[in-house]
């Protein structure tokens, strides 16, 4: 299919879910139950279109072409198909935006569309009976729209816009049961924690906009490639990369902003599968992959470290959690750390590959947990039991018998996440671990901690996943509720089957032990870095072009097989990594069985021996407590102080000056009354007094007057003469 048509299809993929949102929002009440059918069929169409794009783009070939159509520019090349148009027009400055489809986006579109479609399907049954049924599907539509926007964005502005929209739909879906305080709290927390990351992202965007005056990926990367650096400084370029990556830290729940994701499990379980396992949280990884070309070596080290820390930290927390969905949530955080770590060390293809494989099996895990919770909930409802928590694994057990199909799929995808051969998880995880080993070999020093964290998390993952599996599915039912669970109907099971089938190796590579022989590494090629050479890892320089004599020779020697030194080292690390990871995963699984299945070892003794470690893990390393005590308390404290300051001091000053003015007024009034008026009255009174004195002379008697006249005459005569 021609590039233009694909772009139009891409636009349709973007807008169709929005249509679902609008229909369900405005007419949902009226169409009632049909809203799920409308939404699911729209998503079905989107899924088909996504497959078309995927097939045509990844396996097709395109002639270079440029079409200018008024304001809209269509660009078609083998690498990317894109539309650019001016959105914000300030005459002197024109902010161009658009959508682009490259292999990365094409694959991601399928991931989003398929999981979203399956989750829609699953929700038809799972959410039935909810009073806000149509609203739920509207929100799912909004989410799919925004997620497709992130996938298709070819500029930072759209990326940021859809980034925020994803955040808001996540907020709405986490807090979907907003009557529960914990749900609306979790939604709020997710949004605010994400906002912190988004602020970093936006600062990164501002730095780039300031430096290049555009937000298109092409233009920015082109400018960096030409040697124009932000503020003319490599440090700022690194910083810009890290700031942009902050967005990924928030959205992909990386350390230290991972705290929101486990709480987000308050949302309906299909939402957890769609948003908080497979797609939205992968957006951070996608963003990192998308702007990969602009990361400097220092930024990549930072990214790798964040990923490694997250992977390890979350794995340790998952060991002791008892809530079914929270174990999965921490496992998600841990796996996202894997992907980020992989991108950071330079195993770009494998990182993204893990995103895809993880999306399938994690969505399957979550939907299976949804199936379990749904069954538990129904059983509890049936028994009239309102005290048993349907999500607590201590209330489960023995579900293998009552829910055989759920168990089988769950077992298979658990094997996939543990990285057992013949699964997709093995292919991607092995690649990542090989990448970390190669990275550590090439850079040395403290970077060895990264593969160590990676391998340790692999072992921990195997352990806690099997702990979850054994505790909930094996053994005897621990409660009456668990005993009375029933297998769900096909609407719930179908998505599980589809997703677990996708976790077989043969979709990706003919060789179950080596992903490099499949189509994926050919489709997803690490983008050529645009950063100045001295700011990159030398081993990542394509074709070994470097002043460093040693590396040059080394790569020259290998250039027949590998495009850079890293590829070569990774290839060499492939088998050691595979053996090591198999051993470690096997150990983890073995211990899980020893602890929980055969009960040869007693977990309680371990807990009693290391109470501190247990506490730290169970309390999630006290992150929530620490944040509440510091950041949250400080913000609220500041807010309180500001409000009081405003009320008492600033307003106090205003009222105080008013008080002073008023009292001054009183004082002047009194002064006026007493002193000035007093003087005036005094003169009047004196006059009156003299008048009244003189009055006595006026007797009315003629004789007195005559006497006065004569006295006066005499005086006159006396004085005159």
């Amino acid at each position: 299919m021609s590039g233009e048509v694909l772009l139009y299809i891409g636009t349709a993929i973007l807008l169709f879910p929005l249509l679902s949102f609008v229909i369900n929002l405005f007419f949902g009440k009226r169409i009632g139950k049909a809203s799920s059918i409308v939404a699911t069929s729209i998503l079905g169409v989107v899924l088909i279109l996504s497959f078309i794009i995927f097939y045509s783009k990844v396996f097709g070939h395109f002639e270079n072409k440029l079409v200018q159509n008024g304001n809209i520019l269509l660009e078609v090349s083998d690498k990317i198909l894109q539309i650019k148009f001016t959105w914000l027009d300030l005459q002197t400055i024109q902010l161009k935006v658009g959508i682009g489809i490259d292999n990365l986006a094409a694959i991601m579109l399928v991931v989003v569309a398929l999981i979203s479609f399956l989750v829609h399907l699953f929700s038809i049954e799972y959410m039935s009976g909810d009073p806000r049924y149509s609203r739920y599907f509207a929100y799912l539509g909004l989410f799919t729209f925004s997620m497709n926007g992130i996938v298709l964005a070819n500029n930072f502005l759209f990326m940021y816009i859809f980034w925020e929209l994803v955040g808001i739909s996540s907020y709405l879906l986490i807090g979907f049961w907003y009557e529960k305080k914990s749900a609306s709290d979790a939604g709020k927390k997710a949004f605010l924690v994400n906002r912190v990351g988004d602020l970093g992202f936006f600062i990164g965007i501002m730095i780039l906009y300031f430096s290049y005056g555009t937000l298109l990926f092409d233009d920015i990367f082109g400018s960096i490639a030409q040697g124009r650096l932000p503020f003319d400084s490599e440090t700022i370029l690194t910083l810009a990369g890290i700031f942009v990556f902050c967005g990924a830290i928030g959205k992909s729940a990386q350390f230290p902003l991972h705290v929101w994701l486990p709480d987000a499990m308050e949302g309906p379980t299909p939402v957890s599968a769609l948003i908080h396992a497979a797609t939205m949280v992968a957006a951070g990884v996608y963003l990192t992959a998308r702007v990969y070309a602009m990361f400097t070596a220092s930024a990549l080290s930072f990214i790798a470290s964040i990923g490694a820390i997250t992977a390890f930290l979350a794995a340790t927390i998952a060991l002791t959690q008892v809530d079914f969905k929270r174990v999965l949530a921490y496992s998600t955080v841990s796996q996202l750390g894997y992907m980020i770590m992989s991108l950071g060390v330079g195993a770009y293809t494998m990182g993204f590959f893990h995103l895809v494989t993880h999306a399938w099996f994690k969505a399957a895990l979550f939907l299976a947990s949804g199936s379990v919770i749904h069954a538990m909930h129904h059983a509890a409802h049936h028994l009239g039991d309102h005290h048993t928590d349907p999500q607590d694994i201590r209330n489960m057990g023995g579900l293998r018998k009552t829910m055989p199909w759920t168990y089988r799929t769950f077992l298979f995808v658990t094997l996939a996440i543990c990285g057992v051969p013949l699964t997709s998880g093995f292919l991607s995880k092995d690649g990542i671990l090989a990448g970390t080993l190669a990275y550590a070999q090439l850079t040395g020093g403290w970077h060895w901690l990264i593969p160590i964290a990676g391998f340790a998390s692999a072992g921990l993952t195997a352990f806690y996943m099997f702990r979850l599996l054994i505790l909930s599915f094996h053994g005897e039912p621990k409660t009456n509720v668990a005993k009375h669970t029933k297998e769900n109907n096909w609407i719930i099971l179908l998505p599980l089957f589809v997703l677990s089938i996708l976790s077989f190796w043969f979709f990706y590579s003919p060789n179950p032990l080596d992903a490099h022989q499949g189509w994926f590494p050919k489709a997803i090629v690490q983008p050529k870095s645009v950063v100045p050479d001295e700011q990159q890892w030398e081993f990542l320089l394509i074709n070994g072009y470097n002043q460093n004599e040693h590396t040059f020779q080394q790569v020259e020697h290998a250039s027949h097989h590998y495009i850079n030194g890293f590829e070569e080292a990774m290839h060499h690390a492939h088998y050691p990594a595979m053996i090591l990871s198999l051993l470690i995963a096997g150990t983890g699984i073995l211990f899980a069985f020893l602890f929980y299945q055969f009960k040869i070892l007693n977990p309680d003794t371990i807990v009693n021996q290391f109470p501190l470690l247990y506490k730290v893990s169970y309390k999630k390393w006290y992150f929530d407590e620490i944040y509440n005590a510091t950041v949250v308390a400080a913000t609220v404290g500041f807010a309180k102080i500001s409000a009081l300051f405003d009320l008492k001091i600033i307003d106090g000053l205003v009222n105080g000056s008013a008080w002073v003015a008023r009292n001054l007024g009183y004082f002047i009034g009194h002064f006026d009354n007493i002193v000035i008026d007093g003087l005036v009255n005094l003169i009047a009174n004196l006059t009156g007094f003299f008048g009244s004195m003189v009055r006595y002379l006026q007797t009315g008697r003629v004789q007195t007057y005559v006497a006065f006249a004569i006295v006066g005459l005499i005086l006159l005569v006396y004085f005159l003469f």
Partner: protein
Amino acid sequence: MGVGLTNYIVLSAILFGLGIFAIITRKNAILVLMGVELILNSANINFVAFAKFNKLNIEGHIAAIFVIMLAAIEVAVALAIVLNIYQNYKHINVDEIDSLKE
């Protein structure tokens, strides 16, 4: 020693003083009027004396006659007033007639 101007003037002054005394001290309005007559007559004596001893000549006499005539008229008017006062106050005690004060 003959009778000189000084004697006349002294007489006139005594008459004037008596007149003033009468006006100021008497309570009866008639007596006050008589005091006034005394003053007028003291003035007449002065006029006549100055006509005789100084260069006033005939004018002094004329003035005296004029004063006598005026005094007659004045007495007529004043008595009419006194009668009116009497009608209003039923007495002619000038001490108690002080409505001029008002």
